[in-house]
């Protein structure tokens, strides 16, 4: 039940998993604790997965965690392989979910102690890594991608300064004190702008025809799954850790996983950004693995791993439980109940997810004249639903128009959304780190070098900016060539 509801919620842009879970808290108030929890876990798993549907089919991520899925998922759909993309997304979500669960059961307390060790500077490095993705996203023009990303960061910073409490870029308008909600930006840039763009092309043909694939092609073959297994394992570990970090959730896990795939997969099925299966595998595995990750600090310490687990903790309170470090000690049965219901949720996710591919894929074949007004409606309703605030809708429309002109000018919208989401996170964590060393930059650098976590993250960040380290193979080739040159000279 919960899974189905979750998939639907996840697939509709704007209806966020956090909101659905929050609604369920009041709906299930009168229920027993366990069925209520099972329902919420189902919605959680389904919702995170469901976001990929709309990202793949109509290039509007249903949830922030699905942004990275759209990078390659939508190109796949345009090639008429939406079925394959959704099939892969489903199976990988399942794999990620199961691995996340295994981590929770096997190493929960260990991972949560590890997560506590992350200092603000480490969050900053992590987020900076996510931002560096911009350099690899702007497929055609790096300056344009950077301009878009910088614009995004600027928009993300609008609102009350978290350190001083003063308004930033608010022009004295009380309206801007709360900032611009990133979901509104997301829906506007991805959703509404696509509507405008398509409207501009109506009558000019060039509408991609999608063939509805056979069921056999939806379910990826074993060899297919096995082929991506190493990548799935790596991105799952990434997802679990990022999910377990109290300051980051599935969206950052998915972005980092996509980045990781792009950097480590030498021979993707197709170039990234043009429909690489790996580009769907990595983020989908990671964002569902992040659920298991987020549940770890929630169950072992009573600290939420992301926004949804924060709501779940509230729900536990309402049901008279006391989520905290002692929850697992005092109520081990509850821990196992959560583990089992989450396992079941994953099984149902796999079953329902694969069953419902056909009707979803048909959606792409719906006449644009019908589909586009529908997307517009969903965009408006979804945006209003974020916090029942009409100004969010105006923002969404504004960003829809901006996105349209960006698309006309060949500016990518992806980096802008990255900027909006990651910019403020980078800002606040950098400032926290700097404040805690009294603004002393050498001390800040020393802390990075002297702390193992920070050092590893810093090295990873730096290597991200080195275009391509000479691979072992080409090095060997060069070495082989050297002696030959030497011989020539000698002869």
């Amino acid at each position: 039940m919960g899974v189905v509801a979750g998939i639907v919620v996840g697939a509709v842009p704007g209806l966020s998993v956090t909101m659905a879970t929050a609604l369920l808290v009041s709906m299930t108030y009168a229920w027993d604790t366990k069925p209520a929890l099972a329902m919420m876990l189902g919605v959680y798993a389904g919702g995170v997965y469901g976001g990929s549907r709309s990202a793949i089919l109509i290039n509007i991520p249903g949830a922030p965690a699905a942004i990275a899925t759209g990078f390659d998922g939508y190109p796949l759909a345009q090639r008429g392989e939406a079925g394959v993309a959704i099939g892969v997304a489903t199976v990988q979500s399942f794999i990620g979910g199961v691995l996340g669960l295994v981590a929770l059961v096997v190493a929960g307390p260990l991972i949560s102690e590890f997560a506590l060790k992350f200092a603000p500077r480490d969050y900053f490095l992590l987020v900076a890594m996510g931002l560096s993705l911009v350099s690899r996203l702007g497929a055609r023009s790096m300056p344009r991608a950077l301009i878009a990303a910088a614009g995004g960061v600027l928009v993300g910073l609008v609102g009350m300064d978290p350190v001083t409490g003063e308004g930033r870029f608010t022009f004295g308008l009380p309206l801007l004190i709360g900032g611009v909600h990133y979901i509104a930006v997301l829906i506007g840039l991805f959703g509404l702008s696509e509507v405008f763009y398509q409207l501009g092309r109506i009558g000019r043909g060039a509408v991609p025809q999608v063939t509805i694939p056979e069921v056999g092609r939806i379910l990826p073959s074993w060899s297919f799954v096995l082929r991506f297994l190493p990548l799935s394992l790596r991105t799952s570990v990434l997802g679990i850790i990022v999910g377990a970090l109290p300051g980051t959730g599935g969206e950052i896990a998915a972005l980092l996983a996509y980045d990781h795939a792009k950097r480590t997969v030498r021979k993707p099925t197709r170039p990234f950004g043009q429909g690489a299966i790996e580009g769907v595998v990595a983020p989908e595995t990671a964002n569902n693995a992040a659920i298991g990750g987020a549940l770890i600090p929630m169950l072992t310490l009573g600290i939420p791993g992301d926004a949804v687990t924060a709501v779940l903790i509230g729900a536990l309170f309402i049901h008279g439980l006391r989520p905290g470090p002692l929850l697992m000690v005092e109520m081990p049965d509850l821990f196992w109940f959560i583990a089992w219901s989450y396992a079941l949720a994953n099984v149902f996710l796999l079953i329902f997810g694969l069953m419902a591919v056909r009707p979803f894929v048909k959606l792409v074949n719906v006449n644009k004249k019908i589909l586009m007004p529908m997307i517009t409606l969903i965009s408006v309703v979804g945006t209003y639903a974020i916090q029942s605030n009409i100004y969010d809708v105006f923002w969404m429309i504004g960003f829809g128009i901006l996105g349209y002109f960006m698309k006309l000018g060949d500016y990518p919208v992806g980096p802008m959304v990255l900027g909006v989401i990651l910019g403020p996170l980078a800002d606040i964590n950098f400032r926290r780190a700097i404040i805690s060393v009294h603004g002393n930059i050498p001390a800040f650098l020393w802390e990075i070098v002297s702390n193992p976590i920070s050092l590893i993250l810093a090295i990873m960040l730096i290597t991200a900016f080195i275009p391509r380290l000479p691979s072992a193979a080409s090095l060997r080739g060069r070495l082989r060539r050297l002696p030959r040159l030497g011989r020539k000279e000698g002869a």
């Binding site: 916090q387 029942s388 605030n389 926290r432």
Partner: protein
């Protein structure tokens, strides 16, 4: 024959039907068209789902429904420190069908220049509870009591790292109290809320933090965090051995008791009978064992104040907090502009 069958039929079906109709009529009769509440009431929660205000509101509303005989339909409306929700309720008709479920924040909208709305434009139905601030440190920290921490802060000004939630938050106000009374300063590092701040405390990224007892209760029970002061006049049940700040250092009494509160309001101008009906429905709900137990679990202390008492409580809180913030240079406008008097010395 036929007649008797007919009359029996009549008796079997018609009579009960008539009785039911009559009974129904009697039941709804007195609460007819003119009597409040004749339809469901909307409750606007100023903060997001899962937060303290949300949790308290969702716990108390079903209990108050019993006394009202109508549903209270709750929804969260966040934004601008709760000002969006307050404005919304202010824009509705003052008919008692829209409740504002809020925390203490609106008392500072003026001095922080957040919104023109004030609590003066609303009528308190009930102040449910007040949370108790405590100062916590890691289990292995060297300070046993806040007095020791203050001593060290005096010899190393600005060195000790304090977890904060930004200007105006609970940790900030408690810090401002320490600056005002003991003249100490800390290096305060802002986090997104008490939860994230405590996570940083657990991870060793800050040295101490003032938080609501609610947020820290489970970490205290698990002995991961230790309370070095209860920022109140008397100790609390959860940590009976820790002395209250008012006992340790009597000079703090002028500012105590202090703590964020939660309650329900309606727009001023709501007909008196409706206000009375709401007050009468919330009072037993807040007093119920179900709710007080929940409040205790949250580490808060029940208030159950309405009418003049509630207004006085809010005024006192506003006076203490606004002037503390003003003296710490954290306000946009002076409390004087809004006619907020300085707290009286006790």
């Amino acid at each position: 024959m036929h007649a008797t069958t007919a009359s029996r039929l009549l008796r079997v079906f018609l009579v009960p039907a008539l009785v039911i109709t009559l009974a129904w009529g009697v039941a709804i009769g007195p609460s007819g068209a003119q009597v409040y509440p004749e339809r469901s009431i909307t409750g606007i929660i100023q903060w997001g789902a899962g937060g303290a205000t949300d949790r308290v509101s969702r716990r108390v509303a079903p209990l108050a429904e019993r006394g009202l005989g109508q549903r209270i339909v709750l929804s969260n409306m966040t934004g601008a420190t709760g000002a969006v929700a307050m404005q919304y309720v202010f824009d509705q008709r003052a008919d008692g069908y829209t409740l504002l479920l809020a925390a203490e924040n609106p008392a500072l909208y003026g001095v922080l220049d957040i919104s023109p709305r004030t609590f003066d434009e609303f009528e308190p139905i009930n102040l449910f509870a007040r949370s108790i601030p405590v100062v916590v440190v890691r289990r292995d920290a060297k300070w046993r009591y806040l007095t020791e921490l203050i001593q060290e802060a005096k010899s190393h000004p600005g060195q000790i790292k304090a977890g904060s939630t930004g200007p105006g938050g609970l940790p900030f106000v408690v810090g401002a109290m320490m600056t005002a009374v003991s003249g100490v300063r800390f290096n305060s590092i802002p986090f997104d809320g008490e939860g994230p701040g405590m996570t940083a405390l657990l991870g060793g990224h800050v040295d101490f933090m003032a938080v609501g007892l609610a947020a820290a209760a489970e970490h205290i029970r698990a002995e991961r965090l230790r309370v070095i002061a209860v920022v109140d006049l008397a100790p609390v049940d959860i940590v009976p051995a820790t002395p209250a700040l008012g006992q340790m250092m009597p000079e703090y009494r002028a500012y105590l008791p202090w703590g964020p509160f939660y309650g329900a309001w309606v727009k001023k101008g709501t007909p008196a009978p409706a206000v009375r009906r709401l007050v009468d429905a919330f009072r037993p709900a807040v007093a119920s064992e179900d709710f007080t137990e929940f409040i205790g679990l949250m580490g808060s202390t029940p208030l159950n104040l309405s009418g003049e008492e509630a207004v006085r409580f809010v005024k006192q809180w506003q006076s203490v907090t606004a002037w503390l913030l003003h003296d710490a240079k954290a306000t946009q406008k002076s409390p004087e502009q809004f006619g907020i008097p300085r707290p009286a010395r006790r």
